[in-house]
Amino acid sequence: MSCQQNSEVMAEEAKAQTELKEEPKEEKTLKMKEASELALLMRSMYEENLEIRKGIMEGEIPKSFPEDFVKIHSAQSNENLNETFYALAEQYTANLEAITAAKTKEEGIKAYNGMVNTCASCHTIYCQGPLPKIKKMRIPAPGES
């Protein structure tokens, strides 16, 4: 192929390339979903409960729990919640009160793990995504891994 023929082919290719460049890929705006009031509350409760867990393991039984926790009964959610959720929310606050009423470390651990079980029960029904994270919150019994 002569240089001129080669040049013609390359001219066509260059033209095609230029035309392609004239229509750059339109970048899609990616949409992140804003967290609901309940989701934000749950993240906050997760962090606070890890602190409670740490305290109980060191033998410190909390005298109270953060007031914000009771918002679980009214916080806006992306999920379709029904009476089962609200019953489990009542169970959750009862678990928290049981933690504060504990007299010994063992009672504290039992009450705390009861609360974690309630969280897991609720998430089994409504949103299973955080379950592995919730299960890690348990305080293992002596000899339990």
Binding site: A14, K25, L30, Y126, G129
Partner: protein, 174 residues
């Protein structure tokens, strides 16, 4: 615009013919090309979620099943196309495995979420792939998250054995 295109073509032609005999011209042309690539990369940036992973040693998702042969799980970095993501929160996405099946990707410890409009986007995920049985209740929940109709949700009656993935980091390619 076409006139500019033709003029650019002519310039390229001259360079091409010259480059056959001129190493210096070839080098100059190469420099010009790399600048164009850099400019392009700057204008279209990748999106990172979770750990900031890189694109080294990526395996095409269609090779995953071969990698998992005889194993329960495998730590791997995969590239592929996203079919859909959770419409409620962005807490999972599904990637096309290239064989008519989908791989569900969730995110380590529920620690980060992705956009809800990822259908058709190219992605790289790094983490652990494993085979799992998803129960009916969970499958219904996923269908609800995906915005499926009540009829479609009610049609789910059997558990599903499928490939799942827990990602530490995700790149959505521009």
């Amino acid at each position: 615009m076409k006139k500019i295109a033709l003029w650019l073509s002519a310039v390229l032609l001259v360079s091409a013919c010259k480059s056959n005999t001129n190493d210096g011209a070839e080098k100059a042309e190469g420099q010009s090309d790399s600048t164009a690539v850099e400019a392009s990369a700057e204008s279209l940036e990748n999106h990172y979620f979770g750990d900031t992973i890189n694109e080294d040693e990526v395996v095409e998702i269609s090779n995953l099943l071969a990698l998992m042969e005889g194993k329960d799980s495998v730590k791997v970095k995969l590239s592929g196309v996203v079919n859909s993501s959770c419409q409620k929160k962005g807490c999972w996405m599904k990637m096309d495995m290239g064989n008519g099946e989908e791989m569900r990707v969730s995110f380590r410890d529920y620690g980060f979420f992705v956009p809800t409009n990822l259908g058709g986007e190219s992605a790289i995920v790094e983490g652990i792939a494993y085979v799992d049985t998803l129960d009916v209740q969970f499958l219904k929940h996923l269908a609800e998250d995906a915005g499926k109709s009540q009829e479609e949700i009610d049609a789910i009656t059997e558990p599903e054995v499928s490939v799942n993935f827990t990602a530490d980091g995700v790149i959505i390619k521009s």
